[in-house]
């Protein structure tokens, strides 16, 4: 066997032995360059490896060169001998490399000790992995056999490098998996969102040996929206500062593109160069995606002097991010559920307070007391809403105004302090205040006076109070001076920057406004406060509405009683009048006889003496007749006091008055009142009396109950109003038909018989008339016809 072949065999067997040893790649390469140098009988050998990007060749192992150069001596592909060989992929033997233009001298590398060299590319199929050199201190004109030997060696070496690289990538992958597993474990260890974010940031930073990490959250349920960012920074201010300048832009880009982002140097990125300033850094940014939605972005930073991030770092971070997204979503969900639970507790507390206030409000129907309870509840701490001051205003539909009714709250700091001390020292609930009567003690505070002075027309231009009513919604005024909705006058009255108004809505109608502020403790009024206040206002509005209705009913009741009394009174008067009339009639007949016969006697008497006595009798009779005449005229002359009157209202009033009696008599009332009737010129009192007499007559006709049908309608041609009263009684007998208006005719066992004649007289006095008929179906119908007012022709 020839020497060259022996050498080759030796070298190759050595290389395969070394490659099977379990040492790492740099150690293997170091031993291989030793074997190659010794095997070829030279003093030096080296291996350059191409970096993963394929851009540079870097010294990886050497013998005969300075060991410090390893990892540092590097050429771009195409530069220097190593670069040329890596690029051209052909062996090269140089007896005098220093004379070759391709040679690039690297000082302190130790190359200057050598005179000649041979280089060969380390090829793996058609991929160049690096370059192997054999260096000779003596001048060496390498033979083709030498070159072939080195090429063969290089081929062998490629297998070693490839398997080593493969091994390392598997190891990296394993490490990565282990790290991810650990992160996964860590992520499930907590449901506290803040802790979790910090854990993700810490793990990612450590695993990728990064210098800083920021996690931004977005699109999460609104409960956690205030925590838009959580960051963890390993190297302090510089990275934190960088993040504050470009982090948002990077995260936004990653979120928008929904894919991982690798920026090797932010200083060269057109969008970021300006923001990052002098600090050059490498960034990877990965969106946290849950169910297709970006819920956040994780961004890692490395300064330039450290190794920039690689694709595999990005891949790793992507894997972490997908696990983190699930954990973050879970934590956010948990947090939201916790918030919901807290919310539910708050609501329950609010409801309990509202319930207490509701109980308190139900203790009275007196409007003034009710308003005091409402405003005290709004200003009380503990069992109330706890605002500093509260003012209540009610709308007046008639005047279209909002009117201040009451204000509760201290007027000064001193008073505020005193009031709070008092309340807290007594620990009284609203109910206790009401029960002891303390609440209603007369306390006319300055605020109350001030509140009662507020009057606002319900026009949008009048500002926030009117708007609260018109738009039926609360207003939260934060800066009164700057808010155009707050008129200067109101601002000067209230003397606060912030206040809230809520409408009092009862049955869909705004009946007033509650205004609250925190003048003294300056506590900001939150959305939650307003929501609670709105609920409270709703309850208060219903209570106020009830109180108002109650007051109205009381007034109405009083009016009805008064009207009834009046009617009874006028009936009594009528009866009295009838009695007087009766007596005078009884007197009139004898007077006629006395006077009449005396006159006859006078004609026959001649004696003037006797005549004198006769004249006395006659003049006294005449005087008595005069007295009777005047007396009867007074009863008779019910001259109507005419005024514009809605006849339908008159009828309704009377039906309401007799509602109970009609019901007791089991008489149902049907009405058909025409709204087309004009207002008539009537004496309402007299017409009422007339109608009542007809209704009474009808009631008496229906002894066992029935139906009273009341109609009003216009008779346009005749220019008169018809008011019809139909009953279901026996109807009018033929005899009665001619007698009903006779003052002393009555079919009833008791009764004056004056009812219908009076009705007739009243209607006649109104230039109207009464018609009566029997219905074919039975029952009587009385119809009053009243003329329309005469039209005044305008000139």
């Amino acid at each position: 066997m020839e020497t060259a072949e022996k050498t080759e065999l030796h070298i190759l067997s050595e290389i395969s032995r070394i490659s099977n040893a379990s040492t790492d790649l740099s150690d293997k390469l170091h031993r291989i360059v030793e074997v190659v140098a010794r095997g070829m009988g030279k003093d030096g050998a080296s291996v350059f490896l191409i970096d993963p990007g394929g851009k540079n060749v870097t010294l990886a192992a050497a013998i005969g060169l300075n060991q410090e150069s390893i990892g540092k001596m590097s050429f771009p592909v195409g530069m220097g001998i190593a670069g040329w060989v890596a690029e051209q992929r052909v062996p090269l033997a140089l007896e005098d490399p220093y004379a070759d233009p391709r040679f690039a001298y690297v000082p302190e590398s130790g190359i200057e000790r050598f005179k000649s060299l041979v280089a060969a590319p380390i090829m793996d199929e058609d991929r160049c992995l690096g370059v192997i050199f054999v260096l000779s201190t003596a001048s060496w004109n390498a033979s083709s056999a030498d070159i072939t030997l080195l090429t063969t060696t290089a081929n062998q070496l490629s297998g070693v490098i490839r398997s080593a690289q493969m091994f390392r990538s598997i190891q990296d992958r394993l490490f990565e998996l282990a790290t991810i597993y650990e992160i996964g474990i860590a992520l499930t260890s907590t449901l506290d969102l803040k802790e979790l974010l910090s854990l993700i940031a810490k793990n990612s930073t450590q695993s990728l040996r990064a210098q800083g990490c920021t996690i931004r959250l977005m699109n999460l349920p609104e409960i956690v929206s205030h925590k838009t960012s959580s960051s963890f920074s390993a190297t302090g201010d510089a990275i934190a500062d960088l993040d504050s300048r470009i982090g948002g832009v990077v995260a936004e880009r990653a979120a928008r593109e929904k894919k991982p982002l690798l920026i090797t140097n932010v200083a060269r990125d057109p969008d970021l160069a300006e923001g990052c300033g002098a600090l050059a850094a490498s960034v990877i940014s990965v969106p946290l995606i849950f169910c297709g939605n970006v819920i956040g972005v994780i961004t890692l930073y490395n300064k330039e002097e450290v190794q920039p991030f690689t694709e595999s770092d990005l891949q790793f971070l992507t894997t972490v991010a997908s696990a983190a997204a699930v954990a973050v979503e879970n934590a956010a969900l948990y947090e939201r559920m916790e918030d919901l639970a807290t919310e539910a507790r708050t609501r329950a507390q609010e409801l309990s307070i509202l319930n207490d206030i509701g109980t308190a409000m139900s203790t009275t129907l007196n409007l003034d007391r009710l308003l005091r309870i409402i405003l005290t509840a709004a200003t009380m701490g503990g069992s109330g809403l706890g605002f500093n001051r509260a003012i209540l205003l009610l709308t007046n539909e008639r005047t279209n105004m909002l009117q201040g009714m009451m204000g509760v709250g201290p007027t000064s700091w001193e008073e505020a302090g005193r009031a709070w001390d008092e309340v807290s020292s007594k620990h009284k609930s609203l109910m206790e205040w009401i029960q002891t009567g303390e609440l209603f003690e007369h306390r006319d505070s300055a605020l109350n006076t001030l509140a009662r002075g507020i009057r606002v027309t319900l026009e949008p231009a009048e500002g926030v109070l009117a708007l609260t009513v018109l738009h039926k919604k609360p207003y939260n005024i934060v800066d009164a001076a700057a808010d155009p909705a707050v008129p200067r006058e109101l601002r000067e009255t209230l003397r606060v920057d912030s206040f809230v108004t809520v409408p009092l809505v009862a049955k869909d109608r705004v009946i007033g406004v509650i205004l609250v502020d925190n003048m003294f403790n300056q506590r900001p009024i939150t959305e939650g406060d307003i929501r609670f206040l709105t609920m409270f206002a709703h309850q208060a509005a219903l209570a106020i509405e009830n109180a108002i209705i109650h007051t109205n009913i009381e007034t109405l009741n009083k009016d009805m009683r008064a009207m009834h009394e009046q009617l009874v009174q006028s009936e009594k008067m009528a009866a009295l009048g009838a009695m007087i009339a009766e007596i005078t009639h009884e007197i009139r007949n004898p007077l006629v006889s006395i006077g009449g016969f005396t006159r006859r006697l006078a004609k026959k008497l001649q004696s003037s003496e006797d005549k004198k006595y006769i004249d006395i009798i006659l003049s006294e009779v005449t005087r008595l007749e005069g007295i009777i005449h005047d007396n009867l005229s007074y009863i008779k002359e019910l001259a109507p006091q005419l005024a514009e009157t809605d006849i339908n209202t008159v009828i309704r009033d009377i039906l309401a008055l007799y509602e109970d009696e009609l019901a007791q008599r089991r008489i149902r009332v049907e009405t058909a009142l025409s709204p087309a009737l004009p207002r008539l010129m009537l004496d309402a009192q007299q017409i009422k009396q007339a109608v009542i007499n007809i209704i009474k007559n009808a009631m008496e006709a229906m002894e066992t109950g029935g139906t009273l049908i009341v109609k009003s309608y216009p008779v346009t041609d005749a220019r008169e109003a018809g008011i019809e009263f139909g009953d279901t009684g026996p109807g009018i007998s033929a005899k009665a038909m001619h007698n009903v208006f006779n003052p002393y005719y009555t079919t009833k066992p008791r009764g004056t018989g004056l009812g219908l004649p009076i009705t007739n007289r009243i209607v006649t006095a109104h230039k109207g008339r009464i018609e009566m008929r029997n219905k074919e179906s039975g029952g009587a119908v009385f119809t009053i016809k009243l003329p329309y007012p005469t039209e005044e022709k305008k000139p």
């Binding site: 009639h585 009139r588 006889s593 006159r599 001619h738 005719y745 007739n760 006649t764």
Partner: protein, 116 residues
């Protein structure tokens, strides 16, 4: 000689009217209630009736109605103490309404107007 029927439940009034009207030259018959008056009208022809309103049994209004049924042309003068109801039913179908007075001038003028 024209014949007048005076209907009144008060005997003194009947007597007074009879004398006053006879003085005027009329033949006067008197009855004290509506039933008798109506019965008499069936047998005797009168030129005028003076009729009281308030009487026992059938009153003046009913009597008036039945009289007019028998003879709508027969003039009936209502003579009553009730001056306040004059416009209520005074003009229904009576020919005149006279309020009773010690001074019979109005009654006499009314009768004279109707009978000529």
């Amino acid at each position: 000689m024209k014949k007048i029927l005076v209907v009144d439940d008060e005997a003194n009034i009947r007597e007074l009217y009879k004398e006053e009207l006879e003085d005027m030259g009329y033949a006067v018959t008197t009855v004290e209630n509506g039933d008798k008056a109506l019965a008499l009208l069936d047998t005797t022809k009168f030129d005028l009736v003076t009729l009281d309103m308030r009487m026992p049994d059938i009153d003046g209004i009913e009597t008036l109605r039945r009289m007019k049924e028998k003879d709508s042309a027969l003039p009936v003068v209502i003579c009553t103490a009730y001056e306040e109801y004059k416009h209520d039913f005074g003009s229904w179908c009576s020919d005149a309404y006279v309020v009773k007075s010690a001074d019979t001038t109005q009654l006499r003028d009314t009768v004279k107007n109707i009978l000529g």
